[in-house]
């Protein structure tokens, strides 16, 4: 599996299908924002969101949405705070903020959040 840094530096893309997102790296998700929903419950209780790290990717389900592409418009993003799998979650410098852009043909563009886009952990 690719590393988070490798994905960001090489502008590698993920995938999105309905309410499911596939990230081409392994990561623990600490916080997500879709529209104005702040999701911090990843307890897999069929509300909020849940993620699963497989051998090849990380998949993320948003239970409150049927199709994310219907609600996340052209200039909007899904924002995540995540920590690469294997790194220390408790070291704040390992927390990475990323923006996910939902593009056509299920392509998911992944960018590290720049200083312009406001996202407070």
């Amino acid at each position: 599996m690719k590393s988070l840094r490798e994905v960001l530096d090489n502008k590698l893309t993920g995938l999105h299908y309905g309410n499911r997102i596939l990230l081409p790296f392994g990561a623990h998700v600490l916080k997500a924002v879709v529209e104005n929903d702040i999701v911090m419950d990843f307890s897999n209780a069929k509300k909020g969101a849940a993620y699963n790290i497989t051998r090849d990717f990380t998949e993320l389900y948003f239970y409150d949405y049927r199709d994310l592409s219907e609600v996340v418009t052209e200039y909007e993003t899904i924002k995540l705070v995540c920590v690469e799998n294997g790194k220390d979650v408790f070291t704040l410098s390992n927390h990475v903020k990323i923006a996910l852009y939902l593009k056509e043909k299920h392509i998911l563009e992944i960018e590290e959040l720049n200083d312009d886009i406001l996202f407070l952990e």
């Binding site: 916080k31 924002v33 529209e35 104005n36 929903d37 702040i38 409150d64 418009t73 200039y75 909007e76 993003t77 924002k79 312009d116 886009i117 406001l118 996202f119 407070l120 952990e121």
Partner: protein, 471 residues
């Protein structure tokens, strides 16, 4: 002198459909109004206020209690309720004049809001300074002032992100809530551009500068008191010591959109009623002003810097929502406006300035303040036997009954801060904050913890000082 009970009933009469009031009332005077209304064949049936009431209830409850259903279906609900009124006026009353007049007013309203929204969405302000209570208070004061130039919507869109960014290390919900109080609401009481209710008043014939001339001495102490409270609260926030270096720079991007904002501001005056040389496009339901504003929408969006739109997470949804909801509001409020004006005419002597202040304020807090303002403007004009549809009579009213117009103008704008749904920008600011990861209080927590304990005492003082005791 009328007793307290009668006063309460009179205020209720302004708040609720006549049928409901009369059903629970044994007052002879109220029944006589009902009787007179039924006899008046030019007036719509009181039952036709129901679509308006239903729509306002839906707007108040939808985003909170059935969010996903509302998000998907609000255009259909608004259009369906609006259509009921349109069909009633076309088929039963055969009154096309009221409909066309309202449609023209709607186009002016949405042209202003959309152009301000889109033009300000293409501007990005970056402030690289350390947050202090003084700097935060200054930003709020600055926001209150520019809200009168670019609207509470424009000022909120422009300033909420830099305000959050400089406070990012220690942001608390109260930062956002005071921002909503001051920039998204109270600040915008000085010009018709400031807040939608005042713009509706301007369209009906109130002079552009009437508000700044007659409201500034209520606006200034209110803004300063709220900012002082913010300063005291913010000073008690211990903050987080960080070693960040600040350049002190303030950067503006998207400067050409400032030009677009100026065009919008100037175009407000391009109206045949304001400038003689401006041609009227009648019978078209719009004028040169609306053409300019809609053109600004197109060009401001097309020429906007993509990076700025991304940084602002620009989305048409908020303005689309306003456009759809206000089609329904403008249509369904036609009967309400006519009935309230009639009732106020009949009961005029017994409704005082304080009644108008509190009734306008309470409704503006829970419903949208723009239609509420128009309803009570209509009622005040009706009290003095004047007609809201006659610009000359509205002008006469602003000259002769200053305190009445002050009361509803101040109440509609100030009380919009009482809830998330009191004014359009409130919800937008809340949404922007949540998209940035700031957890905001719930609808009721906002009221119980912030707006009731902070704003209501201030609004009582405003009432005592400026409006109490005036018949």
């Amino acid at each position: 002198m009328i007793n307290k009970f009668t006063r309460i009933k009179l205020v209720l009469l302004l708040l609720l459909p006549l049928d409901i009031i009369s059903a629970f009332s044994n007052s002879g005077e109220l029944q006589s109004v009902q009787h007179a209304l039924e006899e008046s064949h030019n007036l719509p049936s009181a039952i036709m206020v129901l679509p308006f009431v239903l729509l306002l209830i839906a707007i108040a409850t939808g985003p909170i209690f059935y969010h996903h259903f509302w998000e998907k279906n609000y255009p259909k609900i608004s259009m369906a309720l609006g259509s009921l009124t349109v069909i009633y006026y076309l088929v039963i009353l055969e009154d096309t004049h009221s409909l066309l007049h309202t449609f023209a007013e709607y186009l002016s309203f949405i042209a202003l809001l959309a152009s301000l929204f889109i033009a300000s969405g293409g501007i990005l302000i970056k402030v690289d300074r350390k947050a202090t209570p003084a700097l935060n208070s200054f930003i709020l004061l600055f926001g209150a002032v520019i809200a009168n130039i670019i609207g509470t919507t424009g000022a909120s869109m422009l300033l909420i992100r830099p305000f959050m960014k400089i406070n990012k290390d220690n942001i608390k919900p109260y930062h956002i809530i005071f921002f909503i109080f001051i920039v998204s609401n109270i600040g915008g009481a000085l010009t018709p551009i400031g807040d939608p209710p005042l713009f509706l008043g301007f369209l009906r014939g109130i002079d552009f500068f009437w508000f700044v001339e007659n409201v500034w001495y209520i606006w200034l102490p209110t803004v300063l008191i709220v900012i002082t409270i913010f300063y005291l609260v913010d000073s008690r926030n211990p903050g987080i010591d960080n070693e960040n270096q600040y350049s002190g720079k303030i950067e503006f991007s998207g400067l050409k959109n400032i030009g677009y904002l100026l065009i919008i501001l100037i175009s407000v005056f391009i109206d045949p009623g304001v400038m003689d040389w401006v041609p009227s496009l009648a019978p078209l339901p719009f004028g040169i002003r609306e053409i300019i504003m809609f053109s600004v929408c197109y060009f401001a969006y097309k020429s906007a810097d993509r990076r700025i739109l991304e940084a602002n997470e620009f989305d048409f949804e908020p303005i689309k929502e306003v456009a759809y909801l206000f089609v329904g509001i403008f249509a369904t409020m036609i009967p309400a406006l006519q009935l309230i004006a009639y009732e106020a005419n009949v009961l005029g002597d017994e409704i005082g300035v304080g009644d108008f202040y509190w009734a306008t304020g309470i409704l503006s807090g829970f419903l949208d303040n723009a239609p509420t303002y128009l309803n009570f403007l209509s009622a005040e004009l009706g009290k003095f036997g004047l007609d809201i549809n006659m610009k000359l009579q509205v002008h006469q009213f602003q000259m002769e009954h200053v305190i009445y117009l002050q009361a509803i103008s101040v109440a509609a704008v100030f009380f919009g801060a009482m809830t998330y749904i009191g004014n359009g920008p409130n919800f937008m600011v809340k949404a922007i904050s949540e998209r940035a990861g700031v957890k905001m209080p719930t609808f009721f927590a906002y009221m119980v913890k912030y707006s009731i304990p902070i704003l209501i005492p201030i609004f009582i003082v405003v009432w005592l000082v400026f409006f109490n005791g005036h018949a």
